[in-house]
C-alpha cells in the first residue's frame, strides 16, 4: 500500500471510528489539523484513534508529546505508520 492509499484508509477510519456522521472522508485534507479548530477532535478522540490505528494498521502510537506530533494531521499519521512499517 502506498502512502496515498494509507492516507485514504486513515481518513476512512477517522469518519467511522469517531462517528463523524455525514462527513465524506475524501473532503478531509491531508494537512488539516485534526484537533481544535480543524476537524474539531479532542483528547478522547486521540485515544480512540490510537487504539484503532494499533488494531487496524498494526502500529502502536506512543503516548505523550510524541503522539501529539503524530496526530498533527492525516499526513503525519500516515508518515508515522509507513515509517514504522518499513523499519
Amino acid at each position: 500500500m502506498n502512502v496515498g492509499e494509507l492516507r485514504s484508509q486513515i481518513k476512512g477510519l477517522l469518519v467511522t471510528e469517531l462517528n463523524l456522521k455525514g462527513r465524506d472522508p475524501a473532503t478531509i485534507e491531508d494537512d488539516a489539523p485534526l484537533f481544535g479548530a480543524g476537524l474539531g477532535l479532542d483528547s478522547l478522540d486521540a485515544l480512540q484513534l490510537a487504539m484503532t490505528i494499533e488494531e487496524k494498521l498494526g502500529v502502536r502510537i506512543p503516548e505523550g508529546d510524541e503522539a501529539r506530533a503524530i496526530f498533527k494531521s492525516v499526513r503525519a499519521i500516515a508518515d508515522h505508520v509507513a515509517k514504522v512499517r518499513s523499519a
Binding site: 456522521k21 478522547l44 485515544l47 480512540q48 494499533e54
Partner: protein, 757 residues
C-alpha cells in the same frame, strides 16, 4: 422563616467499608496516619492492563447474602450492607424505631453487580446464547443494592437508586436532604457503594486516566487516578428529631449544590467556573462564607486535568481564603471509589469536622507548583477547630456536587437558606423558588415507534397502534456533529428532552435533567467486555467506555442541550420512568432548581429482550410476556408554577400530588386524593397489570377509565415517563380534567396526580 431554618440537618450515623478498613473507625485511624491501601490488583487477572494498581477491600468478612443466584448479593451490595448497617447502628435506628418512623434509603452507584456479571459475560463469550447464563444476566440491576438493603435493613418507606457517575454518593445525600426538608420522611440512610471490576479498570485505562504508579493527587508527577472500591453511608435527620430521641449529631449537613458543566463526557471544563459557582451556592445555602471554611476534602482524583481544574475552582470560590484553608484528597490512600466516593468522602469530611483532625493526601511527595493550594501531605494533623468543611465530587458528563459540613449547633447567621436554584455566576436569570413550590408541566414529548410527538400530539397516543419493532431513527432530529458521541439511549433521550424543552419555550439556563433507566447499557457492557475477552485490555474502546456508566445518557443529554442544572439518572426496574419524573418533581418542589426535565430513554436491547422474554414467560405479568419491546423515550418539563407564569409559558397541567412507596403502600394510598366530582378523570399507566389493577381497586379512582401506553408503543421500561407525557397531553388538549399516573412493579410504586390548571 419556617422551623426549617432553625432546624438543621444532622448526620447522626455513618458507616464505611474502604480499602483501609471494614468500618469507619478502622478507616479513620489509618487515614489520619497516612496509610495507603494501593496494591496490585488481585480480584481478577489484570494482565495486559496499562496500569494495574488498585485499592481493593481485602481481608474483610463481607456479609454473605442468600445462596440463590437471583437474590445473591453482589460485592457492591455486600459492602453497602455493611456500611449502611454500621451507620444505622451508630444512629440508633433500631428495629423498633424503624417500625414507627418514616425512614428513606438513597443509594448511589455506578458498577452495581458488574463484577459478578463479568463472570457471566465471560461464560457467554465462551458459549454464546447460553440460556442458563442469560437467565442470570439481569440479576444485578443497579437497583439490586437498594432492594437488598430494603430486605435486610428495612423496611424503608421509599428507596431511590441514582447514578451521576463519580458524584453519585454525594448526590444521594442531596436527595436525602430534599426528602427531609419536604417533611415526608423522618430520617434517611443515604450513601453509595461501588465494587471494583474489570470493566472500570479497563475502561479508565483505555481513557489513560490511571496512574501507572499509586495515584498522587496534586503531585507534579501525577499521571492519573487509582481505582478503589468501597461503600459509605450516612444517616441524616432533622436535629430536633435526632435530639428528641437522644441521638447525638456528629456534624451538620449545612449546605449543598449540584449542577452540570455541560462541557464534555470525560474531561472537566478547565476554567472551573461551574465548580466555583457551586461552591459559592453551597456556602450561600449554609449561610457561611469562605472565611468560615477550615478544610476542603477535594475530589482530587490525581488526573492532570481534574486537579488543575479543581485548584482553579477552589481559588475562584475561596478568594483570599485559599492560602489559609487546608485541602486534601483521600484518593491517594483509598483510591477513587467511583460511585461511592462522594459518600465515603462526605463521611470522612463529617469526621474531620467532628474530630477536629485534618486527613492528609497520600502520595503527595512534590506538590505541583502550578496548583496554589495549602496541602496536607502524608500525615494528618489535629487542629483547634473545623467550623465548616467542603466535600467535592465530580462525575463523568460534568455532574458536579459540593457538600458543606459544619459543627453541629453552631451559631450561624441565617441558617438553612432556600437554594438560589441556579449556579451563581452562570448568567442565570434571577429566578428563585421556595421549597414546597407549586409545580406544573410545561413541556412533554414522546419519541419511539410513533415518531416524535409533542404534548398535544401524544394526547391520543393510547388509542393508536404502532409497530413496536419499527426502526426508530434519531438521526434526522439531532445535529450530527454534536451528537456523534451519543449512544442509542442518549440519542433517544436527547430527541425527547430537546422536543419537550423546545415545546415549552422555557429558557435553558439552569435546567436540570433526570432520566430513568432500568438496566443501563447491558448490550454496550457486553460488547465492551467481549472485545476485551477476545483481544485483550488494550483493545478496549476509549470512546465506548464513558457510555457504559449508568448516567451516560443523562450526561450526554445535558451536554447536547447545554443544560447546566442538576443532572443524574435513576433506576427502579419497570418503574424507572416514574422514578425519574418523581425525582425531577422533588428537585423543583424542593427549590433545588426552577426547571427539571424528567424522563426515560430505553433502546431495545438484545440481551434484555432475550432475558425478559424468558423471565416473564409464565410469571404474573401476561402483558409483558406478549408485548414486543420497542425503542422508547419520553420527557416532561417540570417547572415551578411561579416561574412558568412569570414568563408566560403554556401550562399543560399542574402536579397536584406525588406519592411513592415501598412496603407501606396502604399508608401512601390512604393519602391519595380522590378524583374530583363531575370531572373527567382517568388512570393513566405504562401498562395494565393485575397488580396495578388490584392497587387501583383500593383507591377512589377505581371507577375511572384506564388508559395504557404499552398497547400503543410496545413494551419498554421508559413507558412510565410516556404515561406522564400522555396524561399531561390529554389534560392540555381538554380531553380530560385530571389524571392519576400510576406505576407499580415488584413491591414498589409511584402515583402522580396531574390536573388542569
Amino acid at each position: 422563616m419556617s422551623d426549617r431554618a432553625s432546624d438543621p440537618l444532622s448526620v447522626t450515623g455513618l458507616g464505611l467499608v474502604t480499602p483501609l478498613g471494614p468500618n469507619a473507625e478502622a478507616t479513620w485511624s489509618r487515614l489520619v496516619k497516612g496509610e495507603r491501601a494501593i496494591r496490585p490488583v488481585t480480584l481478577f487477572d489484570a494482565a495486559g492492563q496499562r496500569a494495574s494498581f488498585a485499592a481493593e477491600v481485602r481481608d474483610v468478612d463481607l456479609p454473605a447474602g442468600p445462596r440463590d443466584v437471583t437474590a445473591a448479593w453482589s460485592r457492591t451490595s455486600a459492602m453497602a450492607m455493611s456500611a449502611a448497617g454500621e451507620a444505622m447502628r451508630m444512629a440508633g435506628l433500631t428495629a423498633g424505631l424503624r417500625s414507627t418512623r418514616r425512614i428513606g434509603l438513597v443509594v448511589g452507584g455506578t458498577t452495581g453487580g458488574m463484577f459478578e456479571t463479568e463472570r457471566l459475560l465471560a461464560r457467554l463469550h465462551a458459549e454464546p446464547g447460553c440460556r442458563e447464563v442469560l437467565a442470570d444476566m439481569l440479576s444485578h440491576p443497579l437497583t439490586a443494592t437498594g432492594d437488598r438493603l430494603d430486605e435486610r435493613l428495612g423496611p424503608f418507606c421509599r428507596v431511590r437508586t441514582l447514578s451521576s457517575a463519580c458524584s453519585s454518593g454525594a448526590n444521594a445525600l442531596i436527595v436525602a436532604a430534599g426528602w427531609l426538608l419536604s417533611g415526608e420522611v423522618d430520617a434517611v440512610v443515604a450513601g453509595g457503594s461501588d465494587g471494583l471490576c474489570r470493566l472500570t479498570l479497563t475502561g479508565f485505562n483505555a481513557i489513560a486516566a490511571i496512574d501507572p504508579e499509586p495515584c498522587r493527587p496534586f503531585d507534579r508527577k501525577r499521571r492519573g487516578t487509582t481505582l478503589g472500591e468501597g461503600a459509605g453511608f450516612l444517616v441524616l435527620e432533622r436535629e430536633s428529631s435526632a435530639r428528641a430521641r437522644g441521638a447525638t449529631p456528629v456534624a451538620e449537613l449545612a449546605g449543598w449544590a449540584l449542577g452540570s458543566e455541560s462541557h464534555h463526557i470525560t474531561n472537566p471544563d478547565p476554567d472551573g467556573a461551574v465548580v466555583a459557582a457551586l461552591i459559592g451556592r453551597a456556602l450561600d445555602r449554609s449561610g457561611l462564607t469562605p472565611a468560615d471554611v477550615d478544610y476542603v476534602n477535594a475530589h482530587g482524583t490525581g488526573t492532570i486535568a481534574n486537579d488543575r481544574m479543581e485548584a482553579v475552582a477552589l481559588a475562584r470560590a475561596l478568594g483570599g481564603e485559599i492560602g489559609r484553608v487546608p485541602v486534601s484528597s483521600s484518593k491517594g490512600q483509598i483510591g477513587h471509589t467511583l460511585g461511592a466516593a462522594g459518600a465515603i468522602e462526605a463521611a470522612i469530611t463529617a469526621l474531620v469536622v467532628a474530630r477536629r483532625t485534618i486527613v492528609p493526601t497520600g502520595g503527595l511527595d512534590e506538590p505541583d507548583p502550578a496548583l496554589e493550594l495549602l496541602h496536607v501531605p502524608h500525615v494528618g494533623r489535629e487542629v483547634p477547630r473545623v467550623r465548616a468543611a467542603l466535600s467535592n465530587a465530580f462525575g463523568f458528563g460534568g455532574m458536579d456536587t459540593v457538600l458543606v459540613f459544619a459543627e453541629p449547633s453552631r451559631e450561624r447567621r441565617g441558617g438553612l437558606r432556600p437554594s438560589s436554584a441556579a449556579p451563581r455566576g452562570l448568567n442565570v436569570a434571577e429566578e428563585q423558588t421556595a421549597a414546597g413550590a407549586a409545580v406544573v408541566v410545561t413541556g412533554a414529548a414522546v419519541f419511539g415507534p410513533c415518531g416524535r410527538l409533542g404534548a398535544d400530539e401524544c394526547a391520543d397516543l393510547p388509542e393508536r397502534r404502532f409497530d413496536a419493532g419499527a426502526v426508530v431513527d434519531a438521526d434526522g432530529f439531532l445535529d450530527a456533529a454534536r451528537a456523534r458521541r451519543l449512544d442509542r439511549a442518549a440519542c433517544l433521550g436527547a430527541v425527547a428532552v430537546e422536543h419537550a424543552l423546545n415545546d415549552s419555550k422555557a429558557p435553558r439556563d439552569g435546567v436540570g435533567v433526570v432520566l430513568g433507566s432500568s438496566f443501563g447499557s447491558v448490550d454496550g457492557c457486553a460488547a465492551f467486555m467481549h472485545r476485551i475477552f477476545q483481544k485483550g485490555p488494550r483493545s478496549a474502546s476509549p470512546a465506548e467506555f464513558p457510555n457504559l456508566v449508568p448516567s451516560a445518557a443523562v450526561g450526554h443529554v445535558s451536554i447536547y442541550g447545554g443544560l447546566n442544572g442538576p443532572a443524574f439518572g435513576t433506576a427502579d426496574l419497570a418503574t424507572s420512568g416514574e422514578s425519574a419524573v418523581v425525582q425531577a418533581w422533588q428537585l423543583v418542589s424542593g427549590g433545588e432548581a426552577v426547571r427539571v426535565v424528567g424522563g426515560s430513554a430505553e433502546p431495545r436491547g438484545d440481551i434484555a429482550e432475550r432475558v425478559l422474554s424468558g423471565l416473564f414467560d409464565g410469571i404474573d405479568a401476561p402483558v409483558r410476556s406478549v408485548a414486543a419491546r420497542a425503542d422508547v423515550a419520553a420527557a416532561v418539563l417540570l417547572e415551578a408554577e411561579e416561574a412558568a407564569r412569570a414568563r408566560g409559558g403554556r401550562i399543560l397541567a399542574r402536579v397536584e400530588q406525588v406519592l411513592e412507596w415501598r412496603a407501606d403502600r396502604a399508608l401512601s394510598l390512604a393519602a391519595l386524593r380522590a378524583p374530583r366530582a363531575a370531572r373527567r378523570s382517568e388512570v393513566v399507566q405504562a401498562r395494565v397489570t393485575p397488580s396495578g389493577e388490584q392497587l387501583v381497586a383500593e383507591t377512589a379512582w377505581r371507577g375511572c377509565p384506564r388508559v395504557a401506553c404499552a398497547p400503543a408503543l410496545g413494551e419498554s421500561d421508559a413507558l412510565g415517563a410516556v404515561a406522564v407525557a400522555v396524561a399531561a397531553g390529554r389534560i392540555a388538549t381538554g380531553r380530560i380534567d385530571e389524571a392519576l399516573v400510576l406505576g407499580v412493579a415488584q413491591g414498589r410504586g409511584y402515583a402522580i396526580v396531574l390536573a388542569a390548571v
